[in-house]
Every structure is written in C-alpha cells, then in structure tokens.
C-alpha cells in the first residue's frame, strides 16, 4: 500500500521562487521512496520545533573499513520508521569529477535499489554523497559499487578522499597534472584512507594554479597549489589588442597588482617578475595576453581547516616550490614524515594546523627535517619562532667569554 504523503506546510515555502529547491527534489523522490517521504515528515517537524532530530556517529561501516559511512539515526523512530536509520555513504569520486552519463545512471540505480535515492553531488569533501540507508543495506550497496569500479571515500580520523581541480584536462593554467597526482595519492594512501590511524582527519587538495579553484588554502591540511618560478609569459600583440578593445590596463590590471610590480606606459607592459607574488590577477584579467611561466611546479602549504573543534585556519607555505612529477618520491617522503610526527604527538581531534600552533612552527620544522625559509613568513612582523642555532652558538660563546672576563 502506498505510504500517505507527509504534510509539509513549512517546507512548501521553500519550493517558492525561481531557484532550485531541495524540497522539490525530496518530494519527487518521495513519489516512490518511503525513506524520502519520512525524511520530509521529520524535516517538517524540525522546522516546527527548531531542533534537529538526528543522532550521528556510531559503529556502522562495511567489513574491514573504518571510513566511508557516517552513521545517522532518527530520535523519533516510531513516528518516522523509514528513517530510523539514515546513514550516509561517501563514494570516492574520480579525479576532477569526470563521469560518463552511463556511469551516473548506474550509480543512481544502485542507490534507488538500496537507499533513499537522494544524493549530494558533490559533498564538500569532494566525494559523491549517497544520503540515507539502513545498516542492512550497507554491504549490498558496497558490493554493487565495487562491481561498478567505485570504492568508498574517507571519513573519521583518516586520509580523506583527495580532490582536485580539473587541471590539465581542461585548463591551460594548470602548472602540474592535478588529476594524475590526485589519483596517485588516492592509490598510494589506500590503507590510510580506509583504516583511520591519525589523531584526526587529513585532507589533501590539489589546485593547478594560484586561482585555487578547490579552495585548498582554506580547507586542506595539505594544499598543493600549482605555481611557476620563471617569468609570466607575455604576448605583446594580444596586450595591444586588449588596450585597443577598451580595457583600462593601467586601472584594472596594473593598478590592482598587489605587489605593484607592473608598469604600463600605454604601449608596453613590463613586469618585475622577482617581485611578483603569483596572485594570478593580471593573468585572469588578460587571459589571451598573459600566462603562467614555463618552469612550472607547485607550492606545498600546510595546516588549513574549517572551524570545528577550534577556529578556522588558512594553510601556510611549507615548501615554496617543488617539481611535481611521477614517482613523487620527494612529496611522499615529506608527507610520511609529517604523518609520523603528528600521529606520535598529536592529541585526539587535533588537526595538523592546530598541532603546529601548539608545538610551534620551529619545533615542527625541526621534527620533520625541513629548513625554515623566508617564504614561510605569512605576513610582515610575524614571529615564526625559528631560532637559528649558529647565532645561538655565537651568542653562547660570546657570553662565556664575558663570564670569564669578569
């Protein structure tokens, strides 16, 4: 017998207007899926009472894995029995989010057979998110997903599913192959992705250039952002064309250069490349005339996070420039060293950025064997707490002599 449709006067308000509505989509799923119908009922209740009715976390998962499933239960199971369990499954997305429509249809079919049919494409982690299923359906879903060539993503205190911008697949500004590195890291860290062994989560996010389309600087424990170390490429003819077509180069390009390293005399554009901070502004403003240099690689930054246990952090420079090419040994050695030091000394639920704040950047760098360099100073007058031993030694000797003199 068909389930009675839940009455949702408050949610109905969210269907009005010219924009897409999640209520409309859940209602459409509720036409044939009782889980989606009860979801509407419970959500309406939450809007009435202004409290959530979900309980999170717990012990659900698939055999052998410690991540990929987020347990969720209703605290009103008698009233909304079809969402008494409503677990989320994270599925590792392909690098750059490229799919065929055939695969998308198959994924949706799997989810209609085993869950609510509702998806979130994509979650903030980058994964495909399948919303809402029961504990008994987890293994059958997993088995169909693996048959289609997909695997679960990360959750909990593990390496989260690495994600990247489309990089060289579609974008001429990519300074390294983000998709190749994302695939490599995903495969290399399979154990760490499925078996949580860290104090807390660890996110890798790869952007091909400083435009940082995956916002790695604000979200990833390790942000790997493409950059270059030679000169910006200038096509003089195209610069002239921009000027002739009405672009105010002085005001809109040169005037907005953050390091004031550009000059425009009405005919020729000059860049003092040593002072350029690679912000991408001029390249974005004149894409046909300017391009990143030819000596390309990436900058590795560490420690970003959103506010959860503590406040938000942006990542800061750890390695100013690295050539990122297979087999990526230098990168892996660095990551493994950081994981080792953080796992050994990090507190429960302490992200690596918070760990660095607690122990001090100087101590952290010493522990991972990286030399401090000026690029690590995030802003003027910052005290990075790095003490150079050679100065100490000189000082110590000096004061010793003075002692003896006395």
């Amino acid at each position: 017998m068909a389930e009675e449709k839940r009455k949702t006067p408050k949610l109905d308000e969210l269907e009005k207007g010219a924009w897409p509505s999640f209520v409309k989509e859940i209602k459409s799923a509720a036409e044939k899926n009782p889980m989606a119908n009860d979801l509407l009922g419970q959500l309406e209740r939450s809007y009435e009472e202004k409290i959530g009715h979900w309980k999170h976390g717990g012990i659900v998962g698939v055999l052998g894995y410690g991540g990929g499933v987020i347990g969720r239960y209703s605290d009103l199971p008698e009233e909304f029995p079809n969402v008494s369990h409503f677990h989320t499954i994270r599925i590792n997305q392909p690098a750059g989010w490229f799919y065929t429509s055939d695969v998308l249809r198959k994924l949706c079919d799997i989810w209609e057979r085993h869950g609510s049919g509702l998806t979130n494409m994509h979650g903030s982690t980058g994964d495909m998110i399948f919303l809402g299923t029961k504990t008994d359906e987890l293994e059958p879903t997993f088995s169909e997903l693996t048959e289609l060539g997909f695997d679960l993503g990360g959750s909990g205190s593990d390496v989260r599913t690495p994600s990247c911008c489309c990089g060289k697949a579609r974008c001429e500004w990519a300074c390294y192959d983000t998709m190749a590195l994302t695939y490599f890291l995903t495969m290399h860290y399979q154990d760490e992705l499925h078996r949580p062994a860290f104090p807390y989560k660890w996110k890798f996010k790869m952007s091909g250039c400083p435009n940082d389309c995956v916002a790695s600087v604000a979200r990833a424990d390790m942000s790997i952002i493409g950059t270059w170390r030679d000169d910006i490429q200038i096509d003089k003819k195209a610069v002239t064309e921009y000027a002739e077509s009405g672009l105010n180069i002085q005001r809109d390009v040169v005037g907005n250069c953050p390091s004031k390293c550009m000059e425009w005399d009405g005919k020729e554009l000059k860049i003092d490349n040593k002072a350029c901070v690679k912000c991408m502004h001029c390249i974005n403003a004149m894409p046909k005339a300017l391009a990143p240099g030819k000596d390309r690689g990436a900058c590795i930054l560490i420690g970003a996070k959103a506010p959860i246990v503590e406040g938000a952090l942006l990542s800061s420079v750890l390695v100013p420039f690295i050539k990122l090419e297979p087999p990526y040994n230098e990168l892996i050695d660095l990551v493994d060293k950081i994981h080792e030091v953080w796992s050994e000394n990090g507190k429960n639920r302490e992200r690596v950025g918070e760990f660095i704040q607690r122990v001090g950047m100087g101590n952290f760098l010493e522990a991972i064997g990286v030399e401090p360099v000026p690029e690590m100073v995030a802003h003027p007058r910052e005290n990075p707490y790095v003490f150079y031993e050679e100065y100490f030694e000189e000082d110590d000797e000096g004061s010793g002599e003075q002692e003896e003199d006395k």
Partner: protein, 82 residues
C-alpha cells in the same frame, strides 16, 4: 636485532587491552600502536602494529567506531541505535 613477535600475538595483545578497558577507555589506532611498542620493545615495530590492527578488524574481532574521532572497539550495540 631481536626476532619479531608474530602478528597474531600483537593483535591478541591489542584485543586484551581493548577488552580489559571496555567502558573506561576508547582506543585509537595510534594509542594501540604505542602500547604494543612499549609491551614488546624491539620485537615489534609500527609496520607490524599496523598489520595487527588490520588482522583485528578483518577477523571481525574488533570494528572501527566514530565518536568525534575514530576508535577501535569490540562490536556492541550502540546507544544511538536504540
């Protein structure tokens, strides 16, 4: 160098640690690793501890749980499910 202990011995030791402190302490993978390194000294290393955790999980004797962070526990019916 001393001869390494067997992976089963390490996973059994981990299991005992978890069982003996059920209800009082939740174990993370890192804590279990530190505990067995202390227990077995140079007869165990991090790679062996990692294999022992894998054995513990894949045998079904223990499972991963998530309560704010990820832990390794003996399967039980959880509060949220009730």
């Amino acid at each position: 160098m001393a001869e390494q202990v067997k992976v089963e011995e390490v996973s059994d030791a981990m299991y005992r640690l978890i069982k003996d402190s059920m209800g009082q302490k939740k174990w993370k993978a890192t804590d279990l690793t530190k505990a067995v390194l202390e227990l077995f000294g140079d007869r165990c290393d991090k790679t062996l501890a990692k294999s022992a955790i894998r054995e513990l999980i894949e045998s079904g004797k223990c499972i991963y749980t998530y309560f704010g962070g990820s832990f390794i526990e003996i399967p039980h019916r959880e509060g949220a499910q009730n």
